[in-house]
Amino acid sequence: MGNPAGLVKAAPWKDPGVRPYVEIEHLTKSFGDFKAVDDVSLRIYKGEIFCLLGPSGCGKTTLLRMLGGFETPTSGRILIDGEDMTGVPPYERPVNMMFQSYALFPHMTVEQNVAFGLKQDRVPKVEIAERVAAMLALVKLDGLARRKPHQLSGGQRQRVALARALVKRPKLLLLDEPLGALDKKLREHTQFELISLQDQLGVTFVVVTHDQEEAMTLAGRIGVMNHGEIVQAGTPTEIYEFPTSRYVADFIGSVNIFEGKLVEDEPEYVRIRSDELGGTIYVSHGISAAPEATVWAAVRPEKIFMSTSAPASADNAAHGVVQDIAYLGDLSIYRVKLDSGKVVRVTRPNTTRHAESITWDQPVFLSWDATSPVVLTT
């Protein structure tokens, strides 16, 4: 997955000298006895796109609404640019929100919607006109300034909502599922537009999504949420390649997880005996875990080689039968049933046009590099 925004930028979160722009400290929100957000601490840096990713109901919107000031935290606090936001109402926060449903004012034109926030701040009329026009041009809505929201398409509405929030030049822009209402093609296109807009304006974005692909495309960093907690925060690469828990490994992309026992634990390698695999897994880095502990080795489907001849090494190898093949165009997904009974998912890019040599019910050998598995202890 490419990440144009994240790659070119420095990584301020690795530099202890840089002051975070948004500091979330032990934030909790309870509805009754139910904790929608549970002791979340996060640091978000100036100019980054931070994605909150998680399944439905995990508390993403609630966290975002606390940032916007629409929900009062039960405990914990939020600092924006060093200022404590506790008790600051939404209309006084240097934060703007793009709502999941867009919340465009139906009785106002596109222009009036975008100008609304500026009028509220008593910006001079001439400046309002200039800024609104510039913003509408930026989101390519110049021709539609006098339309009402109900005369716009879904994509156009989305851009009005974005323009309305951005025109106030907030320190922080909150986007709740900004592309949720768009179809797949338009969504992909808009993702890149969002990134380039953010790049031009330098506003810090916090984006909520439950679509992992969208998070990977947009984000500099991703915070994966589950049951109100942030389970892991990091760049898309970190999250994908080095998940710290089975939950994250499984939630982001697809993965084969083999349960096993740690049999050799050296500083530069570990060896895991897995009955599910029917063999041993050799990983070329050390981990910190008790000997004989139960661990899990996660191997991504695209990192598994599949062939009809037996691999050289006895480690990281298995034998099975192709049970199912799904042809997706750019790649094919194979479901291979191992001799142990476990079904493993393998993907292979379709680099040639000709029919695959491997077909249904064919016995195959699977193998992978010693660098490919990630050992997880939780």
Binding site: F70, Y91, M97, P106, F116, Q120, A165
Partner: protein, 314 residues
């Protein structure tokens, strides 16, 4: 689509009717349509006719408008005297103006009290909402007359309010409240309040409250958000509620008669007295026509607002 084979027997009657130009649809609406034409529209034609005829000491107490004269020509006597009379005697014009004023003020008061109530109901949890709505409707289902009567008991010189205030020592002399304009306003607002709340509620219930959060997010204080977003979006509800109060209140009879005292000059009362006390049917008819001419634009406006409201429904 229906199978053609079924047509013959099932809708044989329909076909026969269709041949003579009557469709099934036509039959459905024909009955209420004819009923309303006969009993709602035709009466106004007769009122109009009688408003142009002379008072007569007969039964019924007016002279026929159309008469076959001896030479077989139709003799039409249009007589504008009744209308001229309405404008020469200050009583009628005063009553009309006063009625408009009373209706307008009452509508304003209903709006002031009804809007926050409708808003509060629309913003409460669904369970409470239904209960509160029921509480608004309940008085409407009990007799208007009895509810107006209740206010007599409250407002009288030795009524509940005076008794309570005197026993608390707030006042030493009973306040004269009954048979004053105050009592009349209280009665009208009290009786018409549900008519204001219900359309307002129906409108506010459809409101997307996230718009208010969006407005606050863009820098509005809560009251500004209300003024700039909620109020304009509930325009149709306000108009519908106001019409439902204003139009009938202009012609209100019972409340001024019971609470307003002998000086409460309302056009509905004038019409009533002309008809029952003076037996001046033509004059009463002229008053009715005048009132109707005045109110029809408002009724059309109301009809228009209703059409817009139902068109905006999802």
């Amino acid at each position: 689509m229906r199978a053609p084979a079924r047509e013959g027997s099932a809708t044989g009657l329909g076909k026969r009717l269709a041949r003579v130009g009557v469709s099934g649809r036509g039959l459905v609406v024909a009955l209420p349509y004819l009923w309303l034409v006969l009993f709602f529209v035709a009466p106004f034609v007769i009122v109009l006719k009688i408003s142009f005829s002379d008072v007569d000491l007969a039964i019924p107490p007016y002279k026929p408008l159309l008469q076959w004269a001896a030479n077989h020509t139709l003799d039409v006597r249009l007589n504008f005297n009744n209308y001229a009379f309405l404008f020469t005697d200050a009583l009628y014009v005063d009553a009309l103006l006063n009625s408009l004023k009373v209706a307008l003020v009452s509508t304003g008061l209903c709006l002031l009290l009804g809007y926050p109530m409708a808003y509060g109901i629309a913003r409460s949890a669904p369970r409470t909402r239904n209960l509160l709505l029921l509480l608004v409707m309940l008085p409407f289902w009990t007799s208007l007359l009895l509810r107006v009567y209740a206010w007599i008991g409250l407002l009288k010189a030795n009524g509940v309010i005076n008794n309570v205030l005197m026993s608390l020592g707030v006042i030493h002399e009973p306040l004269a409240m009954l048979y004053t304009p105050f009592a009349m306003y209280v009665g009208i607002v009290y009786s018409y309040l549900p008519f204001m709340i219900l359309p307002l509620y129906a409108n506010l219930e459809k409101m997307d409250w996230q718009l208010l959060e969006a407005a606050e997010d863009l820098g509005c204080r809560p009251w500004q958000a209300f003024y700039k977003i909620t109020l304009p979006l509930s325009r149709n509800g306000i108009l519908a509620g106001s019409m439902l109060v204003f139009i009938p209140a202009v012609g209100e009879y019972v409340i001024p008669a019971l609470l307003g005292g002998p000086n409460a000059l309302m056009i509905g009362r004038v019409l009533w007295d002309e008809f029952f006390a003076n037996r001046a049917w033509p004059t009463a008819s002229a008053v009715a026509i005048l009132l109707l001419v005045l109110l029809v634009p408002f009724m059309m406006w109301y009809q228009n607002v209703q059409a817009r409201e139902s068109a905006s429904e999802p």
